[in-house]
Symmetry: C2
Subunit: 267 residues, 2 copies
Amino acid sequence: MKNDYVHGYSNEEATRLHDQAKTLSDLLHNNIKFPAGSRVLEAGCGVGAQTILLAKNSPDAQIISIDLFEESLNQARSLIKKEGIKNVEFVKADIMDLPFEKESFDHIFVCFVLEHTLDPIQTLKKLNKVLKPGGTITVIEGDHGSCYFHPESEQALKTWKYLIKAQKDLGGDPLLGRKLYPILSEAGFEDIVVTPLVVYVDNSQPHMGEGFIKKTIIAMVEGLKNQAIDSGIIKKREWDQGMEDLHKSAEKDGTFFYNFFKAVARK
Amino acid sequence: MKNDYVHGYSNEEATRLHDQAKTLSDLLHNNIKFPAGSRVLEAGCGVGAQTILLAKNSPDAQIISIDLFEESLNQARSLIKKEGIKNVEFVKADIMDLPFEKESFDHIFVCFVLEHTLDPIQTLKKLNKVLKPGGTITVIEGDHGSCYFHPESEQALKTWKYLIKAQKDLGGDPLLGRKLYPILSEAGFEDIVVTPLVVYVDNSQPHMGEGFIKKTIIAMVEGLKNQAIDSGIIKKREWDQGMEDLHKSAEKDGTFFYNFFKAVARK
């Protein structure tokens, strides 16, 4: 995994990730329940935002959650402890150099991780090796090219495009969601089923305007402000106007659309 | 309605619209069933592509389908006759000058029409007048800004953007889908529920690559070829490359995403 991009690095970022997980948990974790006694690898657990949901939804599965960063693992550990969860073991490990035996997991779960890897297909091949034949992999990714909103302004689009560029510049793939089917196929998985998970928000669900658009999406863009302005790509005035316009999509006459993708495939 | 844009004008276009209706019918008409004895206005029936589905799904409702163009109505009439459908009456009428009594319909159905009107809110207000209090309106629209695909190329994006521009130049709104909630609200409707209807295609459903991406979406763009090249906005070579690239999204490693919106609201 690319070392200079770490979700959950700052406290603010950690708060954002927990808010995001809470608002989105129903959408993303719907139907994800692993059988009693199964051994599940969560590859790239970060600060534990998804771990907690995985563990609660599959209380009788044994979950092994890895991450490359001790700092993230410590946050994840204390979160799990606070919740009284007992079925998770944390291991500091590199997803590209897994310290597990071949074919030692019944299931694998990867959420918001591949989009930050330099080579998602190679990463999937590494994961394939530690999965038992017949076992499943569940992959959840966003696709920043799926996002649109009303009202739409040139400045708002520009801030959004900067988010896409920033992730690309770090070697990630902000448009990975749409590619899950071909990359899983290329990595040797079978029976691939990809489901779009749509977030559509209008004024009939004002809590989503707050919880999803503002706290998750706009917060993610806002975090790039200094970097964007320093880069010279966008002027401060344009950026501020863009952020103001993005906020309108979370208000009374606004609408907002984002699409996640969930793929389940078999080895 | 804008007079110089008519869906179903040529025979080829009529074929495209029927293919589209067939492939999409399950998605769009799911849960649309009007009660026995109810009087339903289909505002803007065109060549009858949706009329046939409406009539079949609500066999005991009385459907009054209007359109401004005699030529489209004649095609719709012969289609309905061929199918042996008896519960549809066609009326040549302007959606902005409806020849019906105030509050004379139980339900209204509008599909792929508002996106071509010059003033969707005024159009909805006109429709509101002929709807009984407590009656419902069902609106279905696309949103061309919701479309994305893999692989993505600059040329393919350019052809797609031309489609958006062409519809705008005719006074329509190619991004209307995302606006259904605010415009219905502005036109005085209540209890508005907007549902995104997602078309996602990958190689697990090759028939959708053929039926939806190629026959519906790409065909729609292809129809603009001469106009686009004559406009000078895009060179012939770029256009051809763009179309070739768009086709790749319907092939083995390609994926394609488009989002329709369905709104149901009450007077």
